[in-house]
Protein backbone atom coordinates (compact mmCIF):
# COMPACT_ATOMS: atom_id res chain seq x y z
CA UNK A 1 0.00 0.00 0.00
CA UNK A 2 3.04 2.26 -0.34
CA UNK A 3 1.38 4.29 -3.08
CA UNK A 4 -1.87 4.93 -1.26
CA UNK A 5 -0.10 5.76 1.97
CA UNK A 6 1.93 8.22 0.04
CA UNK A 7 -1.10 9.67 -1.69
CA UNK A 8 -2.74 10.34 1.65
CA UNK A 9 0.12 12.59 2.69
CA UNK A 10 0.87 14.03 -0.68
CA UNK A 11 0.89 17.66 0.34
CA UNK A 12 4.63 17.33 0.20
CA UNK A 13 5.38 18.84 -3.18
CA UNK A 14 8.73 17.05 -3.51
CA UNK A 15 6.99 13.73 -3.31
CA UNK A 16 4.87 14.32 -6.39
CA UNK A 17 7.14 12.39 -8.66
CA UNK A 18 7.42 9.44 -6.35
CA UNK A 19 6.45 6.47 -8.43
CA UNK A 20 5.39 3.25 -6.71
CA UNK A 21 7.09 0.13 -8.03
CA UNK A 22 6.17 -3.46 -8.69
CA UNK A 23 2.67 -4.88 -8.83
CA UNK A 24 1.36 -2.35 -6.31
CA UNK A 25 1.86 0.42 -8.85
CA UNK A 26 -0.72 -1.21 -11.10
CA UNK A 27 -3.13 -2.88 -8.69
CA UNK A 28 -3.47 0.20 -6.47
CA UNK A 29 -2.96 2.66 -9.33
CA UNK A 30 -4.66 6.02 -8.94
CA UNK A 31 -2.47 7.92 -11.38
CA UNK A 32 -4.31 8.77 -14.58
CA UNK A 33 -1.34 7.85 -16.78
CA UNK A 34 -0.93 4.42 -15.20
CA UNK A 35 -4.64 3.71 -15.40
CA UNK A 36 -4.65 4.96 -19.00
CA UNK A 37 -1.82 2.58 -19.81
CA UNK A 38 -3.66 -0.32 -18.21
CA UNK A 39 -6.81 0.46 -20.20
CA UNK A 40 -4.79 0.61 -23.42
CA UNK A 41 -2.97 -2.66 -22.72
CA UNK A 42 -6.29 -4.30 -21.83
CA UNK A 43 -7.81 -2.98 -25.07
CA UNK A 44 -4.84 -4.32 -27.04
CA UNK A 45 -5.21 -7.79 -25.52
CA UNK A 46 -8.95 -7.77 -26.22
CA UNK A 47 -8.26 -6.62 -29.79
CA UNK A 48 -6.12 -9.69 -30.40
CA UNK A 49 -8.57 -12.06 -28.67
CA UNK A 50 -11.48 -10.61 -30.67
CA UNK A 51 -9.28 -10.68 -33.76
CA UNK A 52 -8.53 -14.37 -33.27
CA UNK A 53 -12.27 -15.00 -33.17
CA UNK A 54 -12.63 -13.04 -36.42
CA UNK A 55 -9.91 -15.17 -38.01
CA UNK A 56 -11.82 -18.32 -37.03
CA UNK A 57 -14.97 -16.86 -38.62
CA UNK A 58 -13.11 -16.02 -41.85
CA UNK A 59 -11.46 -19.44 -41.83
CA UNK A 60 -14.82 -21.18 -41.74
CA UNK A 61 -16.19 -18.88 -44.44
CA UNK A 62 -13.20 -19.33 -46.74
CA UNK A 63 -15.22 -21.80 -48.78
CA UNK A 64 -18.78 -23.15 -48.68
CA UNK A 65 -19.65 -26.20 -46.62
CA UNK A 66 -18.75 -26.92 -43.03
CA UNK A 67 -14.99 -27.05 -42.54
CA UNK A 68 -13.62 -26.45 -39.10
CA UNK A 69 -16.24 -25.10 -36.72
CA UNK A 70 -19.39 -26.52 -35.24
CA UNK A 71 -22.34 -24.18 -36.17
CA UNK A 72 -23.10 -23.46 -32.52
CA UNK A 73 -19.45 -22.52 -31.91
CA UNK A 74 -19.45 -20.38 -35.08
CA UNK A 75 -22.43 -18.44 -33.73
CA UNK A 76 -20.64 -18.06 -30.41
CA UNK A 77 -17.66 -16.67 -32.27
CA UNK A 78 -19.70 -14.00 -34.09
CA UNK A 79 -21.33 -13.00 -30.79
CA UNK A 80 -18.17 -13.04 -28.69
CA UNK A 81 -16.12 -11.29 -31.39
CA UNK A 82 -18.56 -8.39 -31.31
CA UNK A 83 -18.79 -8.19 -27.50
CA UNK A 84 -15.01 -8.47 -27.19
CA UNK A 85 -14.31 -5.79 -29.80
CA UNK A 86 -16.99 -3.31 -28.75
CA UNK A 87 -16.83 -3.56 -24.97
CA UNK A 88 -13.33 -5.00 -24.57
CA UNK A 89 -11.27 -3.27 -27.24
CA UNK A 90 -12.72 -0.03 -28.63
CA UNK A 91 -14.44 1.33 -25.50
CA UNK A 92 -11.51 0.63 -23.13
CA UNK A 93 -9.09 2.05 -25.73
CA UNK A 94 -11.02 5.33 -25.75
CA UNK A 95 -11.19 5.33 -21.96
CA UNK A 96 -7.44 4.74 -21.84
CA UNK A 97 -6.80 7.64 -24.18
CA UNK A 98 -9.20 9.79 -22.14
CA UNK A 99 -7.33 8.92 -18.96
CA UNK A 100 -3.97 9.73 -20.47
CA UNK A 101 -4.91 12.87 -22.33
CA UNK A 102 -7.86 14.69 -20.74
CA UNK A 103 -6.05 15.81 -17.54
CA UNK A 104 -3.02 16.87 -19.56
CA UNK A 105 -5.17 18.70 -22.13
CA UNK A 106 -7.29 20.64 -19.65
CA UNK A 107 -4.43 21.44 -17.28
CA UNK A 108 -5.57 19.18 -14.42
CA UNK A 109 -3.21 17.20 -12.15
CA UNK A 110 -5.19 13.98 -12.46
CA UNK A 111 -8.68 12.63 -13.00
CA UNK A 112 -11.10 14.01 -10.44
CA UNK A 113 -11.88 10.66 -8.80
CA UNK A 114 -8.70 8.57 -8.91
CA UNK A 115 -9.84 5.67 -6.73
CA UNK A 116 -13.08 5.35 -8.68
CA UNK A 117 -10.87 5.33 -11.76
CA UNK A 118 -8.95 2.37 -10.39
CA UNK A 119 -12.21 0.57 -9.59
CA UNK A 120 -13.64 1.27 -13.09
CA UNK A 121 -10.62 -0.33 -14.68
CA UNK A 122 -10.29 -3.36 -12.46
CA UNK A 123 -13.90 -4.38 -13.01
CA UNK A 124 -13.07 -5.04 -16.66
CA UNK A 125 -10.65 -7.99 -16.41
CA UNK A 126 -13.17 -9.80 -14.20
CA UNK A 127 -16.03 -9.05 -16.60
CA UNK A 128 -14.12 -10.34 -19.60
CA UNK A 129 -12.77 -13.41 -17.83
CA UNK A 130 -16.36 -14.25 -16.98
CA UNK A 131 -17.46 -13.64 -20.56
CA UNK A 132 -14.70 -15.76 -22.05
CA UNK A 133 -15.33 -18.49 -19.45
CA UNK A 134 -18.77 -19.03 -21.02
CA UNK A 135 -16.98 -20.83 -23.85
CA UNK A 136 -16.05 -23.60 -21.40
CA UNK A 137 -19.39 -24.22 -19.67
CA UNK A 138 -22.20 -26.56 -20.81
CA UNK A 139 -24.08 -24.96 -23.68
CA UNK A 140 -21.09 -22.86 -24.71
CA UNK A 141 -20.83 -19.11 -25.07
CA UNK A 142 -23.67 -16.76 -26.01
CA UNK A 143 -24.64 -17.47 -29.61
CA UNK A 144 -27.58 -15.16 -30.27
CA UNK A 145 -25.54 -12.30 -31.68
CA UNK A 146 -24.29 -9.27 -29.73
CA UNK A 147 -27.82 -7.87 -29.97
CA UNK A 148 -28.97 -10.78 -27.78
CA UNK A 149 -32.45 -10.91 -29.32
CA UNK A 150 -34.97 -13.16 -27.58
CA UNK A 151 -36.22 -15.82 -28.00
CA UNK A 152 -32.88 -17.09 -29.39
CA UNK A 153 -30.83 -15.67 -26.53
CA UNK A 154 -33.13 -17.27 -23.97
CA UNK A 155 -32.14 -20.68 -25.30
CA UNK A 156 -28.59 -20.28 -24.01
CA UNK A 157 -27.05 -22.70 -21.53
CA UNK A 158 -25.07 -22.07 -18.37
CA UNK A 159 -23.19 -19.30 -20.14
CA UNK A 160 -26.32 -17.15 -20.39
CA UNK A 161 -26.42 -15.73 -16.83
CA UNK A 162 -22.62 -15.36 -16.91
CA UNK A 163 -22.93 -13.22 -20.04
CA UNK A 164 -25.62 -11.06 -18.44
CA UNK A 165 -23.49 -10.54 -15.32
CA UNK A 166 -20.44 -9.73 -17.45
CA UNK A 167 -22.47 -7.12 -19.36
CA UNK A 168 -23.63 -5.57 -16.08
CA UNK A 169 -20.02 -5.27 -14.94
CA UNK A 170 -18.93 -3.72 -18.24
CA UNK A 171 -21.84 -1.28 -18.02
CA UNK A 172 -20.99 -0.26 -14.46
CA UNK A 173 -17.35 0.20 -15.43
CA UNK A 174 -18.34 2.42 -18.36
CA UNK A 175 -20.73 4.52 -16.27
CA UNK A 176 -18.16 5.09 -13.54
CA UNK A 177 -15.52 5.96 -16.12
CA UNK A 178 -17.92 8.40 -17.78
CA UNK A 179 -18.76 10.08 -14.46
CA UNK A 180 -15.05 10.54 -13.86
CA UNK A 181 -14.56 12.15 -17.27
CA UNK A 182 -17.45 14.59 -16.83
CA UNK A 183 -16.44 15.54 -13.29
CA UNK A 184 -12.84 16.09 -14.39
CA UNK A 185 -13.76 18.26 -17.35
CA UNK A 186 -16.39 20.28 -15.51
CA UNK A 187 -14.37 20.87 -12.32
CA UNK A 188 -10.65 20.47 -12.88
CA UNK A 189 -10.03 22.59 -15.95
CA UNK A 190 -7.23 25.05 -15.35
CA UNK A 191 -8.37 28.64 -14.74
CA UNK A 192 -8.69 30.19 -18.19
CA UNK A 193 -9.43 26.90 -19.92
CA UNK A 194 -12.96 27.86 -20.95
CA UNK A 195 -15.24 25.31 -22.56
CA UNK A 196 -14.66 26.76 -26.01
CA UNK A 197 -10.90 26.63 -25.58
CA UNK A 198 -10.93 22.90 -24.90
CA UNK A 199 -9.36 20.60 -27.48
CA UNK A 200 -11.85 18.73 -29.65
CA UNK A 201 -10.81 15.39 -28.13
CA UNK A 202 -11.96 16.66 -24.72
CA UNK A 203 -15.21 17.98 -26.18
CA UNK A 204 -16.06 14.77 -27.98
CA UNK A 205 -15.29 12.77 -24.84
CA UNK A 206 -17.46 15.04 -22.70
CA UNK A 207 -20.40 14.41 -25.01
CA UNK A 208 -19.60 10.70 -25.19
CA UNK A 209 -19.56 10.49 -21.39
CA UNK A 210 -23.07 11.96 -21.19
CA UNK A 211 -24.22 9.43 -23.78
CA UNK A 212 -22.74 6.61 -21.71
CA UNK A 213 -24.46 7.73 -18.52
CA UNK A 214 -27.75 7.97 -20.39
CA UNK A 215 -27.77 4.66 -22.23
CA UNK A 216 -25.77 2.06 -20.34
CA UNK A 217 -28.57 1.72 -17.72
CA UNK A 218 -30.98 0.97 -20.58
CA UNK A 219 -28.81 -1.97 -21.62
CA UNK A 220 -28.67 -3.10 -18.00
CA UNK A 221 -32.48 -3.01 -17.81
CA UNK A 222 -32.85 -4.91 -21.08
CA UNK A 223 -30.49 -7.73 -20.14
CA UNK A 224 -31.98 -7.98 -16.64
CA UNK A 225 -35.40 -8.51 -18.24
CA UNK A 226 -33.85 -11.30 -20.32
CA UNK A 227 -32.52 -12.79 -17.11
CA UNK A 228 -35.87 -12.69 -15.33
CA UNK A 229 -37.61 -14.12 -18.41
CA UNK A 230 -35.18 -17.02 -18.33
CA UNK A 231 -35.05 -17.73 -14.61
CA UNK A 232 -37.96 -16.08 -12.79
CA UNK A 233 -40.94 -16.79 -14.99
CA UNK A 234 -41.57 -13.30 -16.31
CA UNK A 235 -42.69 -12.95 -19.92
CA UNK A 236 -41.48 -9.54 -20.99
CA UNK A 237 -40.36 -10.86 -24.33
CA UNK A 238 -42.33 -14.10 -24.56
CA UNK A 239 -45.42 -13.87 -26.74
CA UNK A 240 -46.98 -16.92 -25.06
CA UNK A 241 -47.19 -15.00 -21.79
CA UNK A 242 -48.39 -11.73 -23.30
CA UNK A 243 -44.90 -10.33 -23.84
CA UNK A 244 -43.38 -9.00 -27.02
CA UNK A 245 -39.97 -9.94 -28.41
CA UNK A 246 -40.00 -6.79 -30.54
CA UNK A 247 -40.03 -4.71 -27.37
CA UNK A 248 -36.54 -6.05 -26.62
CA UNK A 249 -35.36 -4.78 -29.99
CA UNK A 250 -36.72 -1.30 -29.23
CA UNK A 251 -35.06 -1.23 -25.80
CA UNK A 252 -31.81 -2.70 -27.07
CA UNK A 253 -31.46 -0.28 -29.96
CA UNK A 254 -32.39 2.68 -27.78
CA UNK A 255 -29.08 1.80 -26.14
CA UNK A 256 -27.44 0.40 -29.26
CA UNK A 257 -27.57 3.35 -31.56
CA UNK A 258 -26.09 5.89 -29.12
CA UNK A 259 -23.52 3.15 -28.42
CA UNK A 260 -22.39 3.44 -32.03
CA UNK A 261 -21.66 7.12 -31.41
CA UNK A 262 -19.97 6.31 -28.13
CA UNK A 263 -17.53 4.30 -30.24
CA UNK A 264 -17.06 6.93 -32.94
CA UNK A 265 -17.33 10.42 -31.35
CA UNK A 266 -13.90 10.26 -29.66
CA UNK A 267 -12.53 9.25 -33.09
CA UNK A 268 -13.88 12.54 -34.45
CA UNK A 269 -12.03 14.28 -31.63
CA UNK A 270 -8.74 12.53 -32.39
CA UNK A 271 -8.94 13.26 -36.11
CA UNK A 272 -9.69 16.90 -35.25
CA UNK A 273 -6.40 16.97 -33.31
CA UNK A 274 -4.27 15.18 -35.90
CA UNK A 275 -5.34 16.90 -39.12
CA UNK A 276 -4.56 20.49 -37.96
CA UNK A 277 -1.17 19.34 -36.61
CA UNK A 278 -0.02 17.85 -39.89
CA UNK A 279 -1.69 20.55 -41.99
CA UNK A 280 0.04 23.22 -39.88
CA UNK A 281 -3.22 25.15 -39.78
CA UNK A 282 -5.84 25.72 -37.09
CA UNK A 283 -8.89 23.49 -37.27
CA UNK A 284 -11.44 24.96 -39.67
CA UNK A 285 -14.75 25.72 -37.91
CA UNK A 286 -13.91 24.73 -34.32
CA UNK A 287 -17.27 25.83 -32.91
CA UNK A 288 -19.17 24.19 -35.75
CA UNK A 289 -17.34 20.95 -34.88
CA UNK A 290 -18.50 21.21 -31.27
CA UNK A 291 -22.10 21.86 -32.26
CA UNK A 292 -21.99 19.12 -34.89
CA UNK A 293 -20.80 16.64 -32.25
CA UNK A 294 -23.59 17.67 -29.89
CA UNK A 295 -26.14 17.42 -32.73
CA UNK A 296 -24.99 13.92 -33.65
CA UNK A 297 -25.29 12.90 -29.98
CA UNK A 298 -28.82 14.32 -29.76
CA UNK A 299 -29.92 12.69 -33.01
CA UNK A 300 -28.54 9.33 -31.86
CA UNK A 301 -31.44 9.10 -29.42
CA UNK A 302 -34.17 9.39 -32.05
CA UNK A 303 -33.05 7.01 -34.77
CA UNK A 304 -32.95 3.63 -33.05
CA UNK A 305 -35.72 1.91 -35.00
CA UNK A 306 -33.79 2.14 -38.29
CA UNK A 307 -32.15 -1.07 -37.08
CA UNK A 308 -35.50 -2.85 -37.15
CA UNK A 309 -37.45 -1.58 -40.16
CA UNK A 310 -38.31 -5.12 -41.21
CA UNK A 311 -40.05 -6.13 -37.94
CA UNK A 312 -43.10 -4.26 -39.16
CA UNK A 313 -43.99 -0.79 -38.00
CA UNK A 314 -46.45 1.88 -39.09
CA UNK A 315 -45.53 3.86 -42.19
CA UNK A 316 -45.30 7.03 -40.10
CA UNK A 317 -42.74 5.30 -37.88
CA UNK A 318 -40.71 4.18 -40.85
CA UNK A 319 -40.75 7.69 -42.32
CA UNK A 320 -39.79 9.29 -39.02
CA UNK A 321 -36.85 6.99 -38.41
CA UNK A 322 -35.70 7.14 -42.03
CA UNK A 323 -35.70 10.95 -42.10
CA UNK A 324 -34.20 11.39 -38.64
CA UNK A 325 -31.41 8.99 -39.63
CA UNK A 326 -30.73 10.94 -42.80
CA UNK A 327 -30.51 14.13 -40.73
CA UNK A 328 -27.33 12.74 -39.13
CA UNK A 329 -25.62 13.13 -42.50
CA UNK A 330 -25.76 16.93 -42.02
CA UNK A 331 -23.58 17.33 -38.90
CA UNK A 332 -21.38 14.46 -40.11
CA UNK A 333 -21.00 16.24 -43.45
CA UNK A 334 -20.07 19.42 -41.57
CA UNK A 335 -17.25 17.48 -39.93
CA UNK A 336 -15.93 15.92 -43.11
CA UNK A 337 -16.09 19.34 -44.82
CA UNK A 338 -14.24 21.01 -41.95
CA UNK A 339 -11.47 18.40 -41.90
CA UNK A 340 -11.06 18.82 -45.66
CA UNK A 341 -11.12 22.62 -45.37
CA UNK A 342 -8.47 22.39 -42.63
CA UNK A 343 -6.17 20.62 -45.07
CA UNK A 344 -6.96 23.04 -47.92
CA UNK A 345 -3.83 25.09 -48.63
CA UNK A 346 -2.17 23.63 -45.55
CA UNK A 347 1.46 22.65 -45.40
CA UNK A 348 0.72 18.94 -45.32
CA UNK A 349 3.05 16.17 -44.26
CA UNK A 350 2.23 12.51 -44.03
CA UNK A 351 3.55 11.03 -40.83
CA UNK A 352 1.80 7.86 -39.56
CA UNK A 353 -0.88 9.64 -37.46
CA UNK A 354 -1.86 11.78 -40.47
CA UNK A 355 -1.96 8.72 -42.73
CA UNK A 356 -4.35 6.99 -40.32
CA UNK A 357 -6.45 10.17 -40.06
CA UNK A 358 -6.68 10.46 -43.85
CA UNK A 359 -7.57 6.80 -44.19
CA UNK A 360 -10.23 7.38 -41.53
CA UNK A 361 -11.59 10.31 -43.52
CA UNK A 362 -12.05 8.33 -46.74
CA UNK A 363 -13.06 4.95 -45.35
CA UNK A 364 -15.31 6.17 -42.55
CA UNK A 365 -17.12 8.22 -45.19
CA UNK A 366 -17.67 5.04 -47.23
CA UNK A 367 -19.19 3.48 -44.09
CA UNK A 368 -21.32 6.59 -43.60
CA UNK A 369 -22.60 6.46 -47.17
CA UNK A 370 -23.58 2.79 -46.93
CA UNK A 371 -25.32 3.76 -43.68
CA UNK A 372 -27.32 6.32 -45.61
CA UNK A 373 -28.31 3.56 -48.06
CA UNK A 374 -29.44 1.41 -45.15
CA UNK A 375 -31.54 4.27 -43.83
CA UNK A 376 -33.79 4.13 -46.90
CA UNK A 377 -36.68 1.94 -45.80
CA UNK A 378 -37.50 0.16 -49.10
CA UNK A 379 -33.80 -0.47 -49.76
CA UNK A 380 -33.30 -1.70 -46.21
CA UNK A 381 -35.83 -4.47 -46.85
CA UNK A 382 -33.28 -5.81 -49.34
CA UNK A 383 -30.15 -5.20 -47.23
CA UNK A 384 -31.45 -6.25 -43.80
CA UNK A 385 -29.47 -9.08 -42.21
CA UNK A 386 -27.14 -9.43 -45.21
CA UNK A 387 -23.39 -9.00 -45.49
CA UNK A 388 -24.04 -5.45 -46.73
CA UNK A 389 -24.82 -4.53 -43.12
CA UNK A 390 -21.67 -6.34 -41.97
CA UNK A 391 -19.60 -4.39 -44.52
CA UNK A 392 -21.24 -1.11 -43.45
CA UNK A 393 -20.60 -1.33 -39.73
CA UNK A 394 -17.12 -2.74 -40.16
CA UNK A 395 -16.19 0.23 -42.35
CA UNK A 396 -17.43 2.51 -39.59
CA UNK A 397 -15.72 0.61 -36.80
CA UNK A 398 -12.43 -0.68 -38.23
CA UNK A 399 -11.06 2.03 -40.54
CA UNK A 400 -13.28 4.34 -38.49
CA UNK A 401 -12.88 3.81 -34.76
CA UNK A 402 -9.91 1.40 -34.76
CA UNK A 403 -7.82 3.44 -37.23
CA UNK A 404 -8.54 6.56 -35.18
CA UNK A 405 -7.30 4.75 -32.06
CA UNK A 406 -4.16 3.67 -33.89
CA UNK A 407 -3.70 7.21 -35.21
CA UNK A 408 -4.10 8.53 -31.67
CA UNK A 409 -1.51 6.11 -30.31
CA UNK A 410 0.95 7.07 -33.08
CA UNK A 411 0.21 10.74 -32.40
CA UNK A 412 0.69 10.71 -28.64
CA UNK A 413 3.16 7.81 -28.23
CA UNK A 414 6.22 10.11 -28.50
CA UNK A 415 4.68 12.29 -25.78
CA UNK A 416 4.03 9.28 -23.52
CA UNK A 417 7.44 7.68 -23.92
CA UNK A 418 9.74 10.58 -24.85
CA UNK A 419 10.92 8.49 -27.82
CA UNK A 420 10.03 8.65 -31.50
CA UNK A 421 8.90 5.29 -32.82
CA UNK A 422 10.08 3.64 -36.01
CA UNK A 423 8.08 5.66 -38.54
CA UNK A 424 9.03 3.45 -41.47
CA UNK A 425 7.60 0.43 -39.72
CA UNK A 426 4.54 2.43 -38.69
CA UNK A 427 4.00 3.39 -42.33
CA UNK A 428 4.22 -0.29 -43.26
CA UNK A 429 1.63 -0.95 -40.60
CA UNK A 430 -0.55 1.77 -42.09
CA UNK A 431 -0.32 0.65 -45.73
CA UNK A 432 -0.82 -3.03 -44.96
CA UNK A 433 -3.80 -2.21 -42.73
CA UNK A 434 -5.39 0.15 -45.23
CA UNK A 435 -4.97 -2.15 -48.22
CA UNK A 436 -6.13 -5.29 -46.48
CA UNK A 437 -8.99 -3.73 -44.55
CA UNK A 438 -10.48 -2.94 -47.97
CA UNK A 439 -9.72 -6.41 -49.33
CA UNK A 440 -11.43 -7.76 -46.22
CA UNK A 441 -14.56 -5.65 -46.09
CA UNK A 442 -15.25 -4.17 -49.53
CA UNK A 443 -16.26 -7.52 -51.12
CA UNK A 444 -18.78 -7.96 -48.31
CA UNK A 445 -20.83 -5.18 -49.94
CA UNK A 446 -21.11 -7.33 -53.07
CA UNK A 447 -21.95 -10.43 -51.05
CA UNK A 448 -24.68 -8.57 -49.20
CA UNK A 449 -26.18 -7.07 -52.34
CA UNK A 450 -26.20 -10.55 -53.87
CA UNK A 451 -28.18 -11.75 -50.86
CA UNK A 452 -25.72 -13.55 -48.60
CA UNK A 453 -27.17 -13.58 -45.07
CA UNK A 454 -25.02 -12.69 -42.08
CA UNK A 455 -24.33 -14.94 -39.07
CA UNK A 456 -24.23 -18.23 -41.00
CA UNK A 457 -21.36 -20.74 -41.05
CA UNK A 458 -22.20 -22.05 -44.54
CA UNK A 459 -23.39 -20.41 -47.75
CA UNK A 460 -24.48 -21.06 -51.31
CA UNK A 461 -21.67 -21.69 -53.81
CA UNK A 462 -22.23 -18.49 -55.81
CA UNK A 463 -20.82 -16.52 -52.86
CA UNK A 464 -17.53 -18.43 -52.83
CA UNK A 465 -15.18 -16.11 -54.75
CA UNK A 466 -15.78 -12.94 -52.78
CA UNK A 467 -15.72 -14.88 -49.51
CA UNK A 468 -12.27 -16.21 -50.42
CA UNK A 469 -11.07 -12.69 -51.23
CA UNK A 470 -12.54 -11.41 -47.97
CA UNK A 471 -10.88 -14.17 -45.95
CA UNK A 472 -7.49 -13.58 -47.56
CA UNK A 473 -7.88 -9.88 -46.73
CA UNK A 474 -8.82 -10.86 -43.20
CA UNK A 475 -5.79 -13.05 -42.62
CA UNK A 476 -3.44 -10.43 -44.08
CA UNK A 477 -5.06 -7.65 -42.03
CA UNK A 478 -4.85 -9.80 -38.90
CA UNK A 479 -1.18 -10.65 -39.42
CA UNK A 480 -0.23 -7.04 -40.16
CA UNK A 481 -1.62 -5.99 -36.77
CA UNK A 482 1.28 -7.72 -35.01
CA UNK A 483 3.42 -4.82 -36.20
CA UNK A 484 1.49 -2.48 -33.91
CA UNK A 485 2.50 -3.94 -30.50
CA UNK A 486 6.03 -4.49 -31.83
CA UNK A 487 6.38 -0.82 -32.85
CA UNK A 488 5.04 0.30 -29.46
CA UNK A 489 7.29 -2.11 -27.55
CA UNK A 490 10.32 -0.91 -29.50
CA UNK A 491 9.41 2.72 -28.85
CA UNK A 492 8.92 2.18 -25.12
CA UNK A 493 12.40 0.63 -24.95
CA UNK A 494 14.25 3.32 -26.89
CA UNK A 495 14.36 5.51 -29.95
CA UNK A 496 15.27 9.02 -30.97
CA UNK A 497 14.48 11.39 -28.09
CA UNK A 498 11.80 13.98 -28.76
CA UNK A 499 11.24 17.40 -27.23
CA UNK A 500 8.10 18.72 -25.59
CA UNK A 501 6.47 19.32 -28.94
CA UNK A 502 7.07 16.01 -30.68
CA UNK A 503 5.30 17.23 -33.82
CA UNK A 504 6.23 20.62 -35.12
CA UNK A 505 2.64 21.67 -35.85
CA UNK A 506 1.12 20.38 -32.62
CA UNK A 507 -0.89 22.69 -30.36
CA UNK A 508 -2.40 22.03 -26.98
CA UNK A 509 -1.41 21.94 -23.34
CA UNK A 510 -0.09 18.37 -23.51
CA UNK A 511 2.69 19.57 -25.82
CA UNK A 512 3.84 22.13 -23.24
CA UNK A 513 4.79 19.31 -20.86
CA UNK A 514 8.09 17.42 -21.07
CA UNK A 515 8.18 14.16 -23.06
CA UNK A 516 7.61 11.85 -21.25
CA UNK A 517 5.48 13.94 -18.90
CA UNK A 518 6.21 13.74 -15.17
CA UNK A 519 4.27 11.18 -13.14
CA UNK A 520 2.10 14.05 -11.84
CA UNK A 521 1.65 16.78 -14.44
CA UNK A 522 0.10 20.24 -13.97
CA UNK A 523 0.49 20.20 -10.21
CA UNK A 524 0.62 23.95 -10.79
CA UNK A 525 -2.13 25.10 -13.18
CA UNK A 526 -0.79 26.29 -16.55
CA UNK A 527 -0.66 30.02 -17.17
CA UNK A 528 -3.23 31.78 -19.31
CA UNK A 529 -0.54 32.45 -21.92
CA UNK A 530 0.15 28.72 -22.23
CA UNK A 531 -3.55 27.99 -22.50
CA UNK A 532 -4.00 30.60 -25.21
CA UNK A 533 -1.01 29.27 -27.13
CA UNK A 534 -2.42 25.76 -26.87
CA UNK A 535 -5.93 26.75 -27.92
CA UNK A 536 -4.81 27.91 -31.33
CA UNK A 537 -7.87 26.63 -33.12
Amino acid sequence: MAYNDHAATAHDHDAHDHKPHGWRRWVYATNHKDIGTMYLVFAGISFFIGGTMAMLIRLELFKPGMQFLDPQFFNSMTTMHALEMIFGAVMPAWTGLANWMIPMQVGAPDMALPRLNNFSFWILPFAFTLLLATLFVPGGGPAGGWTMYPPLMLQGGAGFPMTIFAIHMMGISSILGAINVVVTIMNLRAPGMTLLRMPLFVWTWLITAYLLIAVMPVLAGAVTMLLTDHFFGTTFFTAAGGGDPVMFQHIFWFFGHPEVYILILPAFGVVSEIIPTFSRKPLFGYEAMVYATASIAFLSFIVWAHHMFTVGMPLAGQLFFMLSTMLIAIPTGVKVFNWTATMYRGSLSFEPPMLFALSFLFLFTIGGLSGLMLAIVPADYQYQDTYFVVAHFHYVLVPGAVFAIMGAVYYWLPKWTGNMYDQTLAKWHFWLSTIFVNVLFFPQHFLGLAGMPRRIPDYAVQFTDWNMVSSIGGFAFGLSQFLFPYIIWKCVHGGVRVGNRAWEGAHGLEWELPSPPPFHSWTEPPSDALIQRGAAH
Binding site: P109, A112, L113, P114, I179, M225
Partner: protein, 47 residues
Protein backbone atom coordinates in the same frame (compact mmCIF):
# COMPACT_ATOMS: atom_id res chain seq x y z
CA UNK B 1 -7.50 16.04 -6.43
CA UNK B 2 -10.03 14.22 -4.29
CA UNK B 3 -7.81 11.96 -2.29
CA UNK B 4 -4.47 12.60 -3.92
CA UNK B 5 -3.92 16.01 -2.36
CA UNK B 6 -2.12 17.37 -5.37
CA UNK B 7 -3.99 20.60 -5.92
CA UNK B 8 -2.05 23.75 -5.38
CA UNK B 9 -4.67 26.00 -6.88
CA UNK B 10 -5.84 28.76 -4.52
CA UNK B 11 -9.49 27.64 -4.75
CA UNK B 12 -8.74 23.98 -4.08
CA UNK B 13 -11.48 23.64 -1.45
CA UNK B 14 -14.05 25.11 -3.76
CA UNK B 15 -12.96 22.80 -6.54
CA UNK B 16 -13.15 19.80 -4.27
CA UNK B 17 -16.70 20.76 -3.34
CA UNK B 18 -17.47 21.09 -7.05
CA UNK B 19 -16.02 17.66 -7.75
CA UNK B 20 -18.08 16.14 -4.95
CA UNK B 21 -21.26 17.90 -6.06
CA UNK B 22 -20.92 16.92 -9.74
CA UNK B 23 -19.90 13.36 -8.90
CA UNK B 24 -22.86 12.94 -6.55
CA UNK B 25 -25.27 14.44 -9.07
CA UNK B 26 -24.09 12.27 -11.96
CA UNK B 27 -23.77 9.22 -9.73
CA UNK B 28 -27.34 9.71 -8.51
CA UNK B 29 -28.67 10.17 -12.03
CA UNK B 30 -26.86 7.03 -13.21
CA UNK B 31 -27.96 5.04 -10.15
CA UNK B 32 -31.57 6.17 -10.50
CA UNK B 33 -31.51 5.22 -14.18
CA UNK B 34 -29.78 1.93 -13.52
CA UNK B 35 -31.76 0.78 -10.50
CA UNK B 36 -34.90 2.55 -11.70
CA UNK B 37 -35.13 0.50 -14.87
CA UNK B 38 -34.73 -2.73 -12.96
CA UNK B 39 -37.17 -1.79 -10.17
CA UNK B 40 -39.73 -0.56 -12.71
CA UNK B 41 -39.37 -3.84 -14.52
CA UNK B 42 -39.84 -5.96 -11.39
CA UNK B 43 -42.84 -3.85 -10.38
CA UNK B 44 -44.34 -4.26 -13.85
CA UNK B 45 -43.72 -8.00 -13.76
CA UNK B 46 -45.50 -8.49 -10.44
CA UNK B 47 -48.68 -6.69 -11.49
Amino acid sequence: MAGNGMSTAPDAGQRQRGVRRTALLLGSVAAIFYVGFIVMMIWRATR
